[in-house]
Each structure stands twice: as structure tokens, then as C-alpha cells.
Subunit: 334 residues, 2 copies
């Protein structure tokens, strides 16, 4: 039987928001694995803000996606053929499989996952990169102490919903900043945040002053721009800012807007530090185990926003940048 | 004998560079110390970039100077009268005496200094705030390790000349960024920096790439703006940026320009942290003793830029911001 692969290749470096015309949707016969390789049928594809950064021709923690290459993406899938002794047919796996239906890989960076412990989509959210990013970014880089004030931006997003819940588990006060009444209701009533600030209808700086009268101890930032500046203006002495991304800035065609209030770091002897989940690979298993116990105890919830159809990729990706998604965004491959 | 005090009061909050008309030059008879007070004749007045920040009506680590108040300044002087048991007539002292000839003080924050150990101006430079700022900012916040690459901006300035020399003492490679050939010659030939970048005639980003091909481990920043961005673009994994000030931004009438390359903190898992010397008061003595041994061994030099005449204050202050001074700027009170 000849299988057909559909895939999205990067056709152009987008200016501003990526458009459908920045991609080539291609079709090809699926190849056979060579010695050491395996063939994965991709079932779910993770859509992440960092993808926008990989599309620019700039040095980052990974090289940019080349023009004409399959768009890089994490995914989970099932092994359909294997000439790699580590993997057998029907194993479930996660890895960087790209935006396509079938991936041939040498197995580097591919991990077996157990669909009996959690449904597959959870391996792209709380047991995947977003969950690990939240866990290590908050606990290792943010170093929250019981009773401290933790503020999380884009708080209904995949990573930050976990950040806020872990901060609550660690007995911190948690304020989430999110867009719209529904997301604010969700993080307070369903996730147990102490308070929410709706950046679409409130003055974030004033609301931070109200909810954090003694200042912010840990600010977990994934958005940059005006909200980062508002948080900088309300830091407490010795505060830690965790820089996890800058979603508000990724589609800028001009230069990135730096945080004009950064001198608050000086006034408050505060720290701003970048966090990258890849530095913690050796500790993923321990973190996963701890988060599983929290989930079993009902203290940690996650929500996935699953869109069907590989072919919707160009439009679905934009949900990340216009604030439409709530929970971890992913594609279910048909 | 009735003594006369001359003093500079803040008359207006300056917009941009402070002008003579932003000050009131006033004259008054010198008062008598009350019980617990002492009268200090001010001999040298320290001029520091932070003074510009104190003139703005914004919350900082100290309150702003009020309109009509004596301009805040550190100084050294001699006790002329004392009703405070801690101080005797003819003691030499340092403290926050303001821009004036005579200061009445209750002795809070006033320290006795020994003019036999070092000339008085050194107590406003290497044995004063600039020296302590350099020592603790570099060693405590920057955490340089032997063999690492340390970059210092405004490197001929009072604080940073000491930073660079301490980094050399700690066996780091040191690159200084300074304005003009003479300052560059000074930091390399007299202070022993490994290299200098003249920001007036070189492309700082390119030169950083040349001098720091493997990236910057510690960047000590007092200038902000384009030079901070250039350093951010050349960080090494795990780099530390010490934020000590932002002299390029203090006279802005618009908003401060934030560092647009701050996402390099993420890419490089780097840290940007503010440092404030006042946090280390309890360790000044130990730092002073260590720096004295380095000075005695000829490893640590300092240069003072001493301008005569209290009445030149408004114009002399500007030397800090137009790059004219080389070494610690201070006024000698006539």
C-alpha cells in the first residue's frame, strides 16, 4: 500500500502575521524507513508561539526553518514502521515531527509515551513542553516562596495556566492577566487563581496596583510589550521576572519594543531571566511524575483546544496571536 | 564669627539636560548645631549620574529631591562644630551633605574617614560609592569566573574603571567601551584592560563580535540605549547583565528606550539584574580593605576629575552626560 503524506513547507519569510501564501501545501508518497529510522503517523500537532520565531531568519536557540523545509512542530503519533531497535510498530511517540501527516526520523529526540496514563493530547500540553516550561520556568527561574505574589500574563494560555496552578499549589497568591471575561472567569473559577485582570477592559497598571499593593514578587511573562512594562512598574524589592517569550512582539515587522521600565530592575534590585525548557530535559520525568500526582489530586487541570484538519494549519496558527485560543492549541490530523 | 553658606536648591524639575535656571543659588548664615547635631564644612562634592534621576518626580530607591530643597549629593568634609558625641571638631567625615558649603546633620549616615590612609577625594571614588558599586556590582551580581569575558560600558568612568580592573584581578578578559581615543588609550594602557572599543568611531556591535567571538559572559551596564542592545546581541549562554544605571536615558524628556534585544535573555538563558550599593553597607569595610591591598600592589588605580568652585555646579554636572569627564567627577569647594 502506498501512503500519501501532506505537509506544509515554509515558502516565504512572513512579514507581520503569517498568511496562507507564506506556505506551500505539498503532497508526496511516504518513503520507507532506512536502517535506524522509523516512520511515524502524526496524530496531533502542537501549535506554539515559538513557531513564529522559527520562521524569521534570525539566530535563536534553534536555527530558523529554512525556505522550502517542512515547518517545524512538536507532535505525537504512532509508529507505523520501524528499523530502529528502540521503537516497535504501534508504539506511541512524541517528537519534533513537523506540520505533516507522516514523518521519517532517526529517532533522535523521539520519546515513547504511554496512552494509558494520559490521553495523547496531554503529552503536548501539561506532560509536554508547555507543562515542563511552566514547571521549570516558575520553580527554577522564578523561585516563588510561600505567601509571595505571583503574576502571570496570558494566563489562560497553555503554559501560564499551569504556572498559575503550580504557584497556588506552592501557596502563593496568584493574579492572572488574560483577555476577556470568559478567560478571566476560567482562571479564577476553574483554575483557582486568586484574581484575574482583563487586559481588554481594564487598565493593567492600575489593576496590578490594586491586586498587588505590596508589589509583585514573581512575574512570569510570555507577552512582552505594554503588559511587561506594567508589571515592571509594580515590582517588589528582589522580584524575579521570568522571560518565557514575547508573543505580542513576534509578528512585529519593525524592531521589538524593549521594556522601557527596565530600570525598575535597578530600583528594586530585581532580576529578569530567560528560561528555556530544553535545559531541563534530564528532569522532565521527575516533573511529570510530580504533576501527575497533582492532577490525580485535582489540583492541576489542563485544557486543550483541538482543531481538526492538517489543512487548517495556516489559519489555526493565528489563533495564538489574536487571543482566540483558550488552552493548549493543537491540530488533530484527519 | 558668622559663617555664610552658599547652596544650590532645586528650583524646577528639568526637562532634558538640567540648565542653570533649574537651580536657585542661595546664601544664608550658617546655623549652630543643636543637641545631637554637627556642623560639617564640605570640602569635596561628588557629582554622580544618579543625581539626574533624583531630580525627576518619580519613585526610586530614594525619594526625589523636593522643589526648593538643597540638591542631594555625597561629599567629604571636616567637622567644624559638634554636639554629637560620635564626632569631634577636625574629624574628617563623608556623608550626604548636599551641594553646599556647610551642612548641619544629626550624624545619620555620616562616617569618619582617615585622611592619612588616602587623600580625601579617594573617599568619593574608589573608597566611596563608585568603588563599592563596582566591587559589589561586579563580584556579587555579575559573578565573573576566571577566563570569562567581561564587557564594561562607559569604561573610563569612575565606577567602570574599577569594574574593569577588578575583573582583570579576577583573571577575566576585559573589554571596555568608551568614547574617544584618549579614553580608550587610558583604559588599555594605564588600567590594563585587554581591549577598548571607541563607540564614537566604531560600530560597537561589530567590534564586540570581533573582541568577544565566543560571546560576553558578564556585561556591566551604566548607559542603556544602543550600547546595551549591542551587548545583548552578543551574549554567551548563561550571561549576566549587571544594570547599574542608564546614563544615556536620564535626560530623555520622552519615555526611556527599553532594550529591544532583551529576548536575547531567553535565547541565552541570561540574567539581567539591578544592583544597588546601599544593599551592601555592612560589607563596605571588608571591600575597602581588599581594594586598599590591590591599590598598594599597583593593581588598582583611580583617577579623579576635580573641578574647583561650588558655583560651577550646574555646568560641571553636565560633564557627566556629554562624556567630557574622565575619572570620578567632583567639585572642590573653594
Amino acid at each position: 500500500m502506498v501512503l500519501t503524506n501532506h505537509k506544509f513547507l515554509l515558502a516565504l519569510r512572513p512579514v507581520g502575521m503569517p498568511k496562507r501564501s507564506d506556505w506551500t501545501y505539498a503532497e508526496e508518497p511516504v518513503g520507507e524507513p532506512k536502517e535506524g529510522e522509523l516512520l511515524v503517523q502524526v496524530l496531533y500537532i502542537s501549535l506554539d508561539p515559538a513557531m513564529r520565531m522559527w520562521m524569521n531568519d534570525v539566530r535563536s536557540y534553534v536555527p530558523p526553518v529554512g525556505i522550502g523545509e517542512v515547518m517545524r512542530a512538536l507532535g505525537v503519533g504512532i509508529v507505523r514502521a520501524s528499523r530502529n531497535p528502540r521503537f516497535a510498530v504501534s508504539d506511541h511517540v512524541s517528537g519534533s515531527f513537523g506540520v505533516q501527516e507522516y514523518a521519517l526520523t532517526d529517532g533522535q529526540g523521539v520519546t515513547k509515551i504511554d496512552a494509558r496514563i494520559a490521553p495523547l493530547p496531554k503529552y503536548l500540553s501539561v506532560f509536554g513542553m508547555p507543562g515542563m516550561t511552566a514547571y521549570f520556568g516558575l520553580l527554577d527561574t522564578g523561585q516563588p516562596k510561600p505567601g509571595e505574589m505571583v503574576v502571570v500574563s496570558a494566563a489562560a494560555g497553555a503554559v501560564r495556566a499551569v504556572v498559575g496552578q503550580i504557584a497556588r499549589i506552592k501557596n502563593c497568591h496568584v493574579v492572572g492577566i488574560a483577555g476577556g471575561a470568559e478567560k478571566c472567569r476560567y482562571i479564577v473559577q476553574e483554575l483557582g487563581f486568586d484574581a484575574a485582570i482583563d487586559y481588554k477592559s481594564e487598565d493593567v497598571r492600575q489593576s496590578l496596583r490594586k491586586h498587588c499593593p505590596e508589589g509583585i514578587d514573581v512575574y512570569f511573562d510570555n507577552v512582552g510589550g505594554a503588559i511587561l512594562d506594567a508589571a515592571l512598574a509594580q515590582l517588589r524589592l528582589g522580584a524575579r521576572i521570568v522571560i518565557c517569550g514575547a508573543i505580542s512582539q513576534y509578528n512585529n515587522s519593525g524592531p521589538i519594543a524593549g521594556p522601557s521600565n527596565y530600570l525598575s530592575l535597578l530600583t528594586n534590585r530585581a532580576t529578569m531571566k530567560g528560561t528555556l525548557v530544553l535545559d531541563y530535559v534530564g528532569r522532565y520525568a521527575q516533573a511529570g511524575a510530580e504533576m501527575a500526582t497533582w492532577m490525580a489530586a485535582g489540583k492541576l487541570k489542563s485544557r486543550e483546544d483541538i482543531v481538526e484538519g492538517l489543512e487548517t494549519f495556516p489559519e489555526t496558527l493565528l489563533k495564538l496571536f489574536n487571543g482566540e485560543n483558550s488552552g493548549k492549541l493543537m491540530l488533530k490530523v484527519g
